[in-house]
Each structure stands twice: as structure tokens, then as C-alpha cells.
């Protein structure tokens, strides 16, 4: 536990020791804010909810989360500090989970900083704050799923730019897999159960039901299992790359 805690602390501190953290938070808030008000028509909708706000979270995450995760492992491998880290008395699993949690806490901080929008909507009307809370929790879980993908892909390469591009692409595919454009491609040749599996992997579909206030445990379980799966893969990749 102390090992995990120390890795989380170090990683989190390293986010804030470079401008990355501040640049990320500023861009995150700006993007989310402008999407909500301009594309989402927050005011014109005339409804006291944050749907216009949450709708754009997946899209902002696709762009920004790979930027948060790209350095997690790629940098360790490039500078050789991975050798230092992995010869300390800790397991690869501890290192992977520690780094992941640091990134997740960072996104949590960014999400908390969107609180003015919550104040705004409460000032303007009487929203269902339970649904809003569910939206935030759902968004946090979804960000965890994106982060686990990014972290795993960061372990594949020494090059942070490559890590960014591949992670963004994979995140995009997982987001879009429930949309007709993607599904039609499979419907032509794939059996129905496969199409159903692909469509059920969509981050978008699970997130939409959460933000609408349909709070089902299975949506959260879905994100949790995605996180566990990608982190497991992450451990495998780190081990494999180390030996080669």
C-alpha cells in the first residue's frame, strides 16, 4: 500500500512540476465550456440540466486524455528510469496501478474544476442534482477507461507522439463503436451476436444512459471491466518490453 501511495504521489507531483498540468486544465475547461455553450446551446435549450455539458465529455477526452497518458511509460522507457523503477522492490502491477491512479486523480481534479457550470445551472433553475452527480461519476468512470487505454499504449513505445496518436485512435474507435457508421461496416458480414458485442463496447452508449439519469450498475461495471482489462494488458506489455 505504501508503495502504491508513493508511486501515485510521485506521478501526480510530476504532472504539476511541468506546465502540462496547467495547460491541460486550461484547455480542458475552455473546450468543455465552449462546447457546452456554443454547440450544446446551454441557454437556448431552456432546461435546467447539464446534458449539454456532459454530451461533449467523450469528445474532449478522446483528444486530451492521450496527452495525459502518453508520458506515463514512454518517458520512463526513453530516459531509462524504468530500469531504476523496476529494480526497486515493487511489482509491475503496483507500478501500473499507481501510475493509473495518479492520472485518474488528475482528471478528477480537472472535473472538479468545472464546478462553476454546476453553480450556474443551480442558479438558473432547479436541476435534478442527483442526475448531475451521476453524470459526474459516470464521466469519471469513462475517463478511467480512456486513461487505461492510454496508459497501456504508452507502454508500447518510447515515442510520446506515437503513443498519443495511437491512443487517440483507439479511444475514438471505442467511443464510436455503437454508432451506425461503424456498425454498418460490420452488419454486412458479421453475425448478429458479434455486431451486438461491438455495439455494447461503445463508451458513448453507456455514458449517454448514465447522463440521462438511467443509473444502472452494469454501465459502471462496464467501465470498470474496461479499466481492469487494459491495465492487465498494460502489465503484460511492460513485462514483455522489459525483457526485449
Amino acid at each position: 500500500m505504501t508503495v502504491l501511495l508513493n508511486i501515485v504521489k510521485r506521478e501526480l507531483a510530476s504532472y504539476f512540476s511541468t506546465p502540462l498540468a496547467y495547460v491541460f486544465i486550461v484547455i480542458f475547461l475552455t473546450l468543455i465550456g465552449s462546447f457546452t455553450f456554443y454547440l450544446g446551446n446551454f441557454f437556448a435549450r431552456g432546461q435546467a440540466d447539464l446534458n449539454a455539458f456532459f454530451t461533449f465529455h467523450p469528445w474532449v477526452y478522446i483528444l486530451l486524455i492521450p496527452a495525459v497518458t502518453m508520458r506515463l511509460w514512454a518517458e520512463e522507457r526513453k530516459t531509462g528510469t524504468i530500469e531504476l523503477l523496476m529494480t526497486l522492490p515493487l511489482t509491475t502491477t503496483q507500478a501500473v496501478i499507481g501510475k493509473f491512479f495518479a492520472a485518474w486523480i488528475f482528471i478528477f481534479i480537472a472535473l472538479v474544476l468545472t464546478f462553476p457550470i454546476w453553480i450556474t445551472v443551480n442558479y438558473l433553475g432547479q436541476p435534478d442534482n442527483g442526475v448531475i452527480l451521476a453524470g459526474y461519476v459516470g464521466s469519471l468512470f469513462m475517463s478511467g477507461a480512456y486513461l487505461s487505454i492510454g496508459s497501456c499504449i504508452s507502454a508500447i513505445t518510447k515515442n510520446q507522439v506515437i503513443a498519443f496518436v495511437i491512443a487517440a485512435t483507439v479511444c475514438f474507435i471505442f467511443t464510436m463503436s455503437g454508432v451506425d457508421i461503424v456498425l454498418n461496416f460490420f452488419k454486412v458480414w458479421a453475425p448478429e451476436f458479434l455486431v451486438n458485442i461491438i455495439s455494447s463496447m461503445s463508451f458513448l452508449v453507456h455514458f449517454e444512459s448514465i447522463t440521462k439519469g438511467v443509473i444502472e450498475i452494469r454501465d459502471f461495471l462496464f467501465y470498470l471491466s474496461v479499466i481492469v482489462f487494459w491495465l492487465f494488458l498494460n502489465v503484460v506489455v511492460v513485462e514483455f518490453k522489459k525483457f526485449n
Binding site: T2, V3, N6, I7, K9, R10, A13, S14, S17, T18, T79, G80, T81, E83, L84, M86, T87, L88, P89, L90, T91, K242, F243, N244
Partner: protein, 238 residues
Amino acid sequence: MISITNITKKFDEFVAVNNLTMSVKRGEVLGFLGPNGAGKSTTMKMITGFIKPTEGVIEVKGMNVETHPIECKKLIGYLPEGAPLYGDMTPINMLKFVAHIRGMTSKEFKKALDSVVVKTQITDVINQPIDTLSKGYKRRVGLAQALIHNPEILVLDEPTDGLDPNQKHHIRNLINKMGKEKAIIISTHILEEVDAVCSRACIIAKGKKIIDKKPTELKKIYKNNNLDNIFREITLSK
């Protein structure tokens, strides 16, 4: 303390270490010599559990490195090749991180810090970001990181690389002093270092051990008093 039995390391077809056997006891400083690409760093990576040998067994204090990685890593202080460090941290934070991962309490850390910082002469830069430090300081921060938990075993990959002559002298004295109670392996290109600190010299080339003797014995055998010439003779002839 360290016993290596018939280890071989292959990267695809390339054989980096070929059937190497050696051991280091407490109170010994083993100088690990060889041309570039001879397999010195690879061997050190295997001892410290970073990579696994393709064949063979490495034991640290009687424990197999592959089956008891955590226990073995606790006993070892390791300075990897090129002394990689977290550049965005300050030496003090970096040492704290390593100490805490190694299970030291804050109190133990403070005590250890005071002595390690003096030993490695990094007092002046302890609060500067590592990225801004000179090569010599970085190397010594790397060394401090390996010493912080006062390990029984030290594996140091080129510990004096990038240091000026005075600093080299200081670090060699430090290794000499520590060598009396620890088991130490250092790799080096600098042959005078073998004379200065090592109680035994192990020369390898192309992954194979060629010679494993005391420096004085080496000179006797080769009648040639200059270690440089001995090294050239040995590594080029085979």
C-alpha cells in the same frame, strides 16, 4: 552474497551473455571489465532482476532472483547504466521516493539522507531540479539513490563515469570503505580503477568470462605491469 551459475542471455539470435559463472562474497569488490558490448550491463541487469536470463540461475544471499524478486531487490542498491533519474524531481525528493518505496520511515530516511548526502558530496544541489545538474552531480545522485537504504549488496554500472579526477578519487575511497562490509560489483572501462578499488577483476568479452583473478595475480601472470596492455592482450586475442 551473489552467485551466478551458467547464465546465458539471448536477444533473439544475438548472445549477449554466454554461460557466465561467477560469485561475489561479502568484503569483496569485484571489478567487472570488458570492451563495450561485452555483456557487462546485461549481466548487471540480470543480477538486479530487471531482465531474466534465458538460462541459468542467479542467487542473492541464497535466494533465487527469479522466484524471490522483491526480497532480492530489497538487498541490492543499484546504479543503472547512464545513471537514469527523474529529471523533474529534486535530488532530495527523488531520494525520498526511493527510500519510501524501499519501506523506510521518514525518520529513517532523514538519518540516512544526512550521511548519504555527505558521502556522495551532493549537499549543494539537493534542492535543484535534477535536469539542471551537471553530469558529475547526476552520477552522484544516482549513487546516493543506490546507497540510501544501506544495502548489503551494491551493483554499480560505471560509478565514476563523468566525474572529474578529484571526484573519482573521492568515490573510489568511498567504495573502498564500503567494500569491507558489503559485496560490491562495479563495471568500468578505467583500468586504474581496478588497481584502486577492486579486490578481484573479472574480464569478459563477447559475453564470455575470460579471466577472474586478483589484480596482483593478473600482473604476475602477464609479467606485463601495465593493466592496459593486459586488457588489450586478453580481449583482442580471443
